[in-house]
């Protein structure tokens, strides 16, 4: 049991340093605002108010892993928002036709930018910088600088909730259902990991560690289910959150389990080696850029929904928030490293920071300064954590359990394969 706990903590610290930071941040604000953070309506606010940035982060992480960057996302989101609003109003389209049209426009823009980056060879930075200007202008051209409202269904996408139904369980039943599905999935996945590990003799983690981690995760899900489900009548885990959750699941799957995902990491990790391994570099570049604009379109639609209308200033500065989220979440500037979940956590760190500071009545001037420092320190923390062989900060903090600190250092150094000596006497003996 102790062994499993040790594995859980040390593995957790290394992989999920940012989750810990998030928890600490939430705890701090919860304490210093007298409990205003962890209320259902505030939690729902955080999700509704930030889901569009998190959607962007999901797309941005793939771009950054591949070694590029996309500065146009805010402008693309804005131009799609205005397109959706105007076409629905002037062409009398159904709301969902308008949404599909908006996504199609996003994809087209993505293909345009992807072509410049992948096939003409212009760096992503320049292409999307141009895009940022072009599509901002286009947004203002289409909307003639007006603010155009969008129909109720789209508003629901941005700020709406899941329906209430069924028996009286104290909680919103849609949220309860989501929570139950979530817990079931986590448990099933843990059991599956353990059976597979036993069958194949994989030694990575003790079965108990896997169970413990799953239990921990289930407790978190249960708490969140309670938090989101016990709000005002008619509220639940927000629809925009559901959209985000869906995207996280799909894109995590793509990144970790598909060939395309592996290729993105390969291109970012070592382009030349990837080329010589049969990866179609141009196709990978095209796909990540196109996908980013598609998600930017979605983010724009969700945001427009929440603001109930599309305006000329939408999207300003979003790219920086998305990029910050990705780097706080553990991506590397040089590419090849990063995760979807990490980026969402990074985005949540920023979101909680925004929210907490606002609750404390801190003005936007100070908030910006604090956010900038947090970005810097968060990434520095992550860089430090990842360099192996250094004494871990947490090891030092828990110095009372001195032994654990040593073990944390020792664990890191197992990776150092200078420790594997080549005993040539062994090989010379052959033949």
């Amino acid at each position: 049991m102790k062994e499993a706990l040790k594995q859980l903590v040390s593995g957790g610290i290394r992989q999920f340093g940012m989750v810990i930071a998030l928890v600490v941040l939430i705890a701090y604000f919860q304490f210093s605002t007298g409990g205003k953070v962890l209320t259902p309506s505030n939690a729902q606010n955080i999700i509704n108010g930030n889901s569009y940035i998190l959607i962007l982060a999901v797309g941005m992480v793939l771009v950054i892993i591949a070694g590029h960057i996309d500065l146009s996302v805010g402008s693309v989101a804005a131009v799609v928002g205005i397109t959706v609003a105007i076409t629905i109003r002037d062409w009398h389209l159904q709301w969902w036709v308008g949404v599909l049209l908006g996504l199609a426009v996003g994809l087209a823009i993505g293909a345009w930018q992807g072509a410049w980056v992948a096939y003409v060879g212009i760096p992503g930075f320049i292409t999307t910088l141009a895009g940022m200007l072009i599509f901002r202008g286009m947004n203002q051209y289409i909307g003639k600088n007006n603010t155009i409202p969008v129909p109720e269904e789209i508003q629901k996408m941005g700020s709406g909730y899941l329906p209430s139904w069924g028996p009286d369980t104290v909680l919103n039943n849609s949220t309860l259902l989501l929570g139950i599905i979530g817990i079931a999935f986590v448990l099933w996945s843990a059991v599956r990991t353990n059976t597979k590990a036993k069958k194949l003799g994989l030694e990575a983690q003790l079965p108990l560690t896997v169970i413990l981690r799953a239990v921990l995760l289930c407790l978190v899900i249960a708490y969140l289910t309670f938090l989101f489900g016990s709000g005002r009548e008619g509220t639940s885990f927000p629809i925009s959150g559901c959209i985000l959750l869906f995207l996280v699941i799909v894109y995590s799957f793509i990144a970790n389990r598909t060939i395309t995902g592996r290729h993105v990491y390969a291109v970012g990790g070592n382009r030349s080696a990837a080329a010589l391994s049969g990866v179609n570099i141009k196709r990978v570049n095209f796909v990540v850029m196109a996908n980013m604009s598609l998600l930017a379109a979605l983010a724009g639609i969700v945001f427009t929904g929440r603001s109930t209308a599309s305006g000329p200033g939408d999207g300003t500065g979003w790219e920086l928030d998305a990029i910050a989220a990705v780097f706080i979440g553990g991506a590397a500037v040089s590419g090849g490293v990063g995760t979807v979940v990490g980026s969402v956590i990074g985005g949540l760190v920023m979101a909680v920071l925004n929210n907490g500071l606002a609750l404390k009545g801190i003005g936007s001037d100070l908030t910006q300064m604090i956010k900038g420092m947090v970005l810097l320190l968060a990434v520095a923390f992550d860089v430090y954590n990842k360099v192996q062989g250094r004494p871990s900060i947490f090891g030092l903090i828990f110095k009372g359990k001195g032994k654990r600190a040593d073990e944390l250092v020792a664990e890191a150094s197992v990776e150092d394969s200078a420790a594997v000596p080549v005993d040539a006497g062994e090989t010379a003996a052959r033949g």
Partner: protein
């Protein structure tokens, strides 16, 4: 050669890394004016010892003493050791490709004039230094335009500009061809006659034998012995015995070839340089490979062997002009790397770190990287399939690592090469092209890799081995093609091949097209 008094004594140097004792009470004595070689296998501790000496690992991070020119020294960084007259030239050249020779020579050591850098004096001094090392290039020539051999000489010129008394060279001829190697060694002999002391880390035993005055052998972080070349009878076998612990009866495993019919035939292969139109890097090359055969490509560096291989492998180098590839009698078009892989061709690049590996990956991810289609259905990868495949190769290729989930970046050169071999065996190719497969690998691991190559041939595959070490080709290949300036100049069967006639073909004029 009479050596002078002791100029350097390293006493009981111990260096620890977390979990590893890289150096264990290593002692070494170097006399002034001698060329002192350090031999040892990869991971034995040679480079670590030199990093301690040069200040890369500063005083305080190791235990033991360094006595230089009679005084105990405590270098706190590289600058301190340079000020004392110790300069180190690393295996990976530390030159900036986009800058000129003069700029590189004086990088960090700029010639100061009254208003900023005095470039005219710098260029003048650079010209003098270049003359000293025998490099006939303009000091304004850009580094990336000159070959590796000349770059090495620029490094030495740079060291000379710092008034060096003790020059440390880490694998100086590893990336050089025969000519450039000889030139470098002559240069070192010249420097020695003028009083310079050199410490040379090298794997090239024949060179060590011919140039050094004494040899310190390091094994597993301990100094095993020091051989006095002039005094005792020191030959390669003696050195190997010291390095390895017993003499290698033969450097190549015993092998009886079992050669079948031709299955891969290249005709009239002509490729243009990617950047210089009109310049041909492959000139109507014609060759074939049979099943179960190990074919060698011999040539001096720059002859065009890698260009030939990469242009065949999915056109990943140069502009294809004309020529055909026949696999099993059928003409095929390998127009992309993926097409080449699909046609069961594999290519293992010469530069492991730059072209072969994604250093962020684990061993298991690397092993399946070229064959993802094999372990996936409709684009979704089968989880743990990579692990299973990698485990298989770990055992069959004897890759030394605690687990295949480890990253490849920290593996020794030999183990990285094995992982790469595994990666290219995974898609089950029929033809493997190995480009310098044993570069930078110690004697023991080389032996293992030779064994693996022979095993591949025994399985009926064709293996092309590109190598700059003639003894390696002579020991391994069944047939050797020689390439010179982009053209195949000859083909020699194993029975008829020796260093002289190969060298003649590698440097002579192109003969009639080899069949």
């Amino acid at each position: 050669m009479t050596s002078g008094p002791v100029i350097l004594e390293m006493r009981s140097i111990t260096k620890l890394f977390p979990g590893v004792r890289a150096l264990d009470e290593v002692s070494m004595t170097v006399r002034a004016g001698e060329i002192h070689a350090i031999c040892g296998e990869n991971g034995a501790g040679k480079s670590t010892l030199m990093k301690v000496l040069s200040g890369v690992y500063p005083y305080g991070t190791y235990s033991g003493d360094i006595v230089y020119q009679g005084e105990e020294v405590r270098f706190k960084d590289i600058n301190a050791s340079e000020d004392a007259g110790i300069a180190i030239i690393h295996q990976e050249l530390a030159l900036i490709p986009e800058l000129s020779i003069a700029e590189n020579i004086f990088l960090g050591n700029e010639v100061k004039g009254r208003f900023g850098i005095d470039w005219s004096t710098a260029r003048l001094r650079a010209t003098e230094l270049l003359a000293r090392v025998g490099l006939r290039e303009s000091p304004d020539e850009i580094i990336k335009n000159i070959g590796v051999g000349k770059q090495q000489l620029v490094e030495i010129a740079k060291a000379l500009s710092k008034d060096v008394k003790l020059l440390i060279l880490d694998e100086p001829t590893a990336a050089l061809n025969e000519d450039d190697s000889q030139h470098l060694l002559d240069l070192l002999r010249g420097l020695r006659s003028k009083g310079m002391t050199c410490i040379m880390i090298s794997h090239k035993l024949n060179e060590i034998e011919s140039i050094s005055d004494s040899i310190t052998i390091i094994r597993d972080g301990k100094s095993v012995e020091t051989l006095d070349v002039a005094g005792g009878d020191v030959d390669e076998d003696r050195i190997i015995r010291g390095m390895v612990g017993r003499s290698l009866e033969s450097r190549f495993p015993e092998h009886t070839p079992n050669i079948g019919e031709t299955f891969f035939h290249v005709r009239d292969w002509t490729v243009e340089h990617p950047l210089v139109p009109g310049r041909l890097v492959c000139k109507q090359s014609d060759f074939f490979v049979r099943r179960g055969e190990i074919v060698g490509f011999a040539g001096i560096m720059g002859a065009g062997r890698t260009e030939l291989a990469r242009s065949l492998f999915g056109r990943s180098y140069g502009r294809y002009l004309s020529g055909t590839i026949e696999i099993n009698g059928e003409e095929v078009s390998l127009h992309s790397v993926q097409a080449a892989i699909d046609h069961k061709v594999a290519y293992v690049p010469e530069d492991r770190k730059a072209l072969g590996l994604n250093l962020l990956d684990s061993i298991e991810d690397t092993v399946v990287a070229a064959g993802l289609k094999k372990i996936s259905r409709r684009g979704v990868i089968e989880p743990s399939a990579a692990h299973i495949a990698a485990e298989g190769y770990r055992k069959s290729l004897n890759i030394r690592t605690p687990s295949v989930t480890q990253g490849v970046a920290k593996l020794s050169g030999g183990n990285q090469q094995k992982v790469l071999l595994g990666k290219w065996m995974f898609p089950e190719p029929d033809l493997l092209i190995l480009d310098e497969p044993t570069r930078g690998i110690d004697v023991g691991a080389k032996y293992e890799i030779y064994g693996l190559i022979q095993r591949l041939a025994d399985e009926g595959k064709g293996v092309i081995v590109i190598s700059s070490e003639l003894p390696e080709l002579l020991g391994l290949a069944d047939r050797i093609y020689t390439i010179f300036e982009g053209a195949i100049t000859g083909v020699v069967e194993r029975a008829d091949a020796n260093q002289e006639n190969l060298m003649r073909l590698m440097t002579g004029t192109p003969s009639a097209k080899a069949s």
